[in-house]
Each structure stands twice: as C-alpha cells, then as structure tokens.
C-alpha cells in the first residue's frame, strides 16, 4: 500500500497493511537539529521556478522548505493541500511598528499587532504576545469583512485549471490530500483575541451570531469551487480550531450548541454532499466536554489529543468507537525523555489503539524544540516496529 492508501484505510476504519505515521515539525526544531547532526542537505527541498520578482524570465533554484518526513519514514499532514486562500485579501502589510534593543512590534498579515523578542533563539516557536487585534466591535468587523470576500479571484492560484488539479490530487500518494480550513472559534479568537471574543458571547450575542454566520458563508463559498471540483479526491478536511485550554474548552457546551453547532453542520453537510466525509478537528487542550457535540457537528476525526490536557485516545475509542478516527496522543514530554519513558508511552498505547482501529500514531502536537534529534531518531526507530501488523 502507498502511504495515502494506508491513511485512507485507517480513517475509514479499515485495516491497512501497516499503520501510517504522521508528524508535523516546527521549523525551529529542524534548525536546532541541524546543530545536532541532522543532515540538512538531505532534507532541503529545492525547486526550479520563475525568479520570484517576476521581472526576470528565468528559472532559478529556490529553497521551498524541508522534507524531514521521508528521512524519518513518516508522513506529513500537509503534503498535498487544496490551494485556496482563506485569509484576508488584501493582506495587511507586514511591517515593523516599533522596536528597541530587546523587542520588536509588528503588524501581522491578519491585522493584529504582535510583540516578540528580537533576538531570542526561537522567536516564532515561542509565539509572540498579541497586544492588539483588528476586530473589536461591530464597526471594525464590518470594516474587516471587506477583506473576506469569497468571490475575490485571488483566493485561487493563477494556474487554477481544474483538470490539472484533479490529476495532481489523483496522483499524490505520499500522504493524504487535505483541505485545510479555519473553524468558528479559531477565526474569531484570531481576529478579536481570546478574552474579547470569549466575553462577547455574553455581551453582544447578536454580534457573535452575525460574525459566525458570515464565517460559515465565507468558508463554504470560498472552498466551493475546489470542493465541487476535487470531491472525494480530498481525503480529509483539516479544521483548525484550538478551542480549548488545559482545564477544558474555552467555550461551554451551551455556547457551542447555540452559536457553533448549526454552522458546523452547514459546512459538514456541504462537504458530505460532495463526498468528503472525513473531517478532522485540530484543537489543543481538553476537549472532552465537547466531544458529543463535536461529533454531532459532523466532525469525525481528532488531533492532537494532548495528554497534558487529560485527553486519552483509548478512553475516547472505547466510548465513541468508530465515531472518531484519532491521530496523536503520544505524550510529547515522555517521548522527548527517550529511553524507557518513551518506550513505555508507546507500549501502553499504540498496540491497543492499533487493534481498536481508526488510529494513527503521532506526537500530541507539533514536534517541539525540546526534542533532541537523537531522541527523535530513537523514538522513530522504536515506533516503526509497532507500525507493522
């Protein structure tokens, strides 16, 4: 079987010839590993393309990123993605607003103002501190909406030629084909900041209904062409949400039911009408109190299932069976320790989940900088033995 066939089998609750294995890496982790012996020359991806400025008609080798996945023998979530732009168009112009010896304040492309360390070793991994957000009230939302026009032709690539893309999606076998979208909580928190967005459900519920309804319309209309073109050549929808913290969801089941559920259903119904029925939510934190509603919304896959937030794949599998396929749940803290701690984490979960079915092993978040290259290699070698039936 190809990696894609393996993933498709697992998420359809069928037994593959061996388990697939999915990971995602922070770029900073790879940069750190480069100093620890990771052969960067073996994983660097260079492609010839027309010179970036477009003023020279010449192909030029350009660094497109890294492929650590083939090196370790795992698959990336983001191998073949539907090229739809769901961000604000036009983008805010990324620029420095303020800087001193220690910090830098920038206007991000989504319109937020972020402060970060100027010279910290892992500036982006450590995430900036957001000090302002573009949407504060109804007026600023109306203004922002102008950048969220689903009919803007710039949302699709210049070379969006349907047959070509159908062929690309048919042919891809290195992992799953993916449509990545942003969820109703994720988009609101990103535009308003977590505290303001969360409080607004009580302060101005009508405003929240309006925002979320618009996001449903915008999402469906933006992806419509791609979804109706590619249909089930898209193996999985990856719905980014991040709607929970360690203690529990940021929003209560009551709010989820009233504000989110009907809109999730509209999107998942639209996807299913187009034969796309593997819909996975990406949310950190403890989502246990929302699982029934998440499933009712039409979502049937979960990642990363963070262990430090009390998420347990075996418990979910036993309770929900094939209502969810699961990815992740290998405790990043235990794996990064290596040795017996790493082995115990794998031994206690992977064989059981492999038998229960519908499970793909993965670290319970992106692979972080505290993971040394040697320890990750050790983890990779040990896990691979468990992938075989």
């Amino acid at each position: 079987m190809t990696p894609r066939e393996r993933i498709k089998n697992v998420i359809n609750f069928k037994k593959p010839d061996m388990l697939p294995w999915i990971e995602s890496f922070y770029d900073e982790t790879l940069m750190k590993w480069a100093k620890e012996g990771f052969p960067i020359d073996e994983v660097i991806l260079i492609e010839w393309e027309v010179s970036r400025s477009g003023t020279l008609l010449v192909n030029w080798p350009t660094v497109k990123g890294f492929d650590p996945y083939s090196y370790f023998g795992c698959q990336s979530f983001f191998g073949c993605m539907v090229p739809v732009d769901i961000g604000p168009i036009p983008r805010f112009k990324l620029r420095i607003l303020k800087e001193n010896e220690k910090y830098i304040e920038i206007l991000t492309e989504t319109g937020a103002i972020a402060k970060r360390f100027k010279k910290a070793e892992y500036t982006w991994y450590s995430m900036p501190m957001f000090i302002d957000f573009p949407v504060k009230d109804r007026k600023s939302w109306e203004e922002y909406k102008k950048r969220l026009n689903p009919k803007d032709p710039r949302r699709y690539p210049k070379d969006w030629e349907k047959d070509t893309y159908i062929e690309i999606f048919e042919r891809y076998q290195n992992g799953c084909t993916l449509l990545r979208i942003t969820g109703f909580y994720g988009f609101g928190a990103e535009l308003m900041g977590i505290p303001t967005f969360n409080v607004m459900f009580y302060k101005d519920p009508e405003f929240m209904h309006d925002m979320i309804e618009y996001w449903e319309y915008f999402t469906i209309e933006t992806i419509r062409d791609a979804v109706e073109t590619l249909k089930d050549r898209i193996d999985m929808v990856y719905w980014w949400e991040d709607l929970a913290e360690k203690h529990g969801p940021c929003i209560s089941p009551k709010i989820y039911k009233e504000f989110f559920l009907p809109h999730y259903k509209k999107v998942t119904d639209f996807l299913r009408k187009n034969k796309i029925d593997k819909i996975m939510m990406d949310s950190d934190g403890n989502i246990n109190p929302l699982l029934d509603l998440i499933n009712e919304a039409g979502i049937n896959g979960l990642w990363p299932l963070e262990v430090n937030s009390n998420m347990d794949a075996i418990t979910i599998k036993k309770k929900y069976g094939n209502k969810f396929f699961l990815i992740g749940n290998l405790d990043k803290r235990e794996l990064a320790k290596g040795g017996d701690a790493m082995k115990k984490e794998i031994d206690s979960k992977v064989p059981i989940l492999k038998e229960l079915g519908g499970y793909i092993p993965s670290v319970d978040h992106l692979v972080h900088v505290e993971f040394s290259f040697q320890k990750f290699k050790e983890y990779a070698e040990y896990l691979k033995k468990h992938l075989i039936y």
Partner: protein, 217 residues
C-alpha cells in the same frame, strides 16, 4: 424591594447566573439606596457570586468564556462602588506580586488570574511579562507581599522559575513569601521539584490556594 438579605442574594445569583451588566448595576443601585454598607455589598453579594462562578468552573459547568464574563460583571459593579468608598475601607486579603518570568511574553493566563485575584480582594502588583528575577525581589521587599505568582507558558522558560526561587533564598526572604506557579507548562511535580509552594492548573485553583494561604496566617 426586598429585605437586605434577599437583595444581596439576588446579587449573588445575578453574578452566578451571568445575567447582564444592566441588571447587576440596578441591583447595586438598589442596595445603595437601601443603605446597605458597601463592604457588605462587595463581600456578601459580589464575591459570593464570584465564588459560585469559580465552583461552577471547577465542576465543568462553566468554562473560560463564563469566567471572563463574570469578571467583567464584577468590574462593572466595582466601578460604581469603589468611588463611593470614602470612609469604608475594603480590607485587603493580602498582596500578590505577579509576573511572567524572564524570556516569556505570554500573559493571557496571568491576566485572568490577576483579574480574579483583584476582584477576590487581593492587592496585585503585576510586573508584566519577561520580568527579571531581581524585579520580583525588589517588589516583594517593597510591598512586603506574602505571595509571589510566577507564570510561564513554555517548557523553555519554566526553568526561570527556579532561578527566581534561588534568588529569594539568596536574599534571605524565601520563608517570607509563598510561591505559586502557573502556566501551561507547569505541573504540580515541577513545582515540588524546584521548591515552589504550589502550582495552580487554572486561575480559580490559584485563587483558592492564595485564599487558603492568607487564612492560615
């Protein structure tokens, strides 16, 4: 118009049930017109309401949205009451020096804790984010705060918490303050390991720990 007890109870319920800001403001005005002492409105009405919200959060009945909204209701009420506090003085539960450790600029969790600590009656000296260990020491000496709250989100920065504790020892003031850790990367085991007094896994737990500490004194 009801009895004093009924009115204070209505305030508790209004906060606990997360009703709108207008309703709480009206109840506060009614309590003032009945000449209920401001301290009593705060202690027997608002704070009891907030305690009830905290309990609901711990029981998974309320979540972050509800916690944040309850704090805004509380602030709306205090905005009316605080300017009227001329002769009456709210007795502080205690002082907390608070900050995100050096190398870390995350503040959402810290700010939620701060908001709840303030409305629960603590004086909070918030030093902000990326705070040098020396700044914590200076502020503790200056304010004689009984509690030091250290926050860190990242596993790369939590070790700074240990540096602060070492510094407290070096300055001979470790036994004068209780050290409370908070933040995504923090665990109870880690707190024990580095010699902190406790770790809170969320803001409400943090406040309960602080209340217990000041009651013990």
């Amino acid at each position: 118009m009801g009895t004093k007890h009924e009115l204070l109870n209505k305030i508790v319920i209004t906060i606990s049930n997360l009703e709108n800001s207008g309703k709480i403001k009206n109840l506060i005005k009614e309590a003032l017109s009945q000449k209920i002492p401001i301290i009593e409105i705060i202690e027997e009405g608002l704070r009891k309401g907030l305690d009830s919200v905290g309990k609901k959060y711990e029981n998974n009945e309320y979540f972050l949205s509800e916690l944040l909204y309850a704090a805004t209701l509380m602030n709306d009420a205090l905005e009316i009451l605080e300017p009227l506090l001329k002769t009456e003085k709210i007795k502080s539960k205690g002082a907390i020096v608070l900050g995100t450790v050096k190398g870390d600029i995350h503040d959402i969790g810290k700010n939620i804790f701060k908001m709840y600590a303030q409305v629960s009656g603590f004086e909070v000296y918030d030093l902000g984010v990326d705070v040098d260990p020396e700044k914590f020491i200076e502020k503790i000496k200056e304010t004689k705060a009984q509690i030091l709250g250290l926050s860190a989100l990242l596993t790369t920065t939590i070790l700074e918490m240990k540096t602060v504790i070492e510094k407290l020892k070096k300055e001979g003031i470790r036994d004068k303050v209780k050290v409370l850790l908070g933040g995504n990367a923090v665990t109870k085991e880690f707190a024990k390991e580095i010699g902190a007094d406790a770790a809170a896994l969320n803001a409400i737990e943090g406040i309960e720990i602080c209340k217990k500490w000041v009651e013990e004194k």
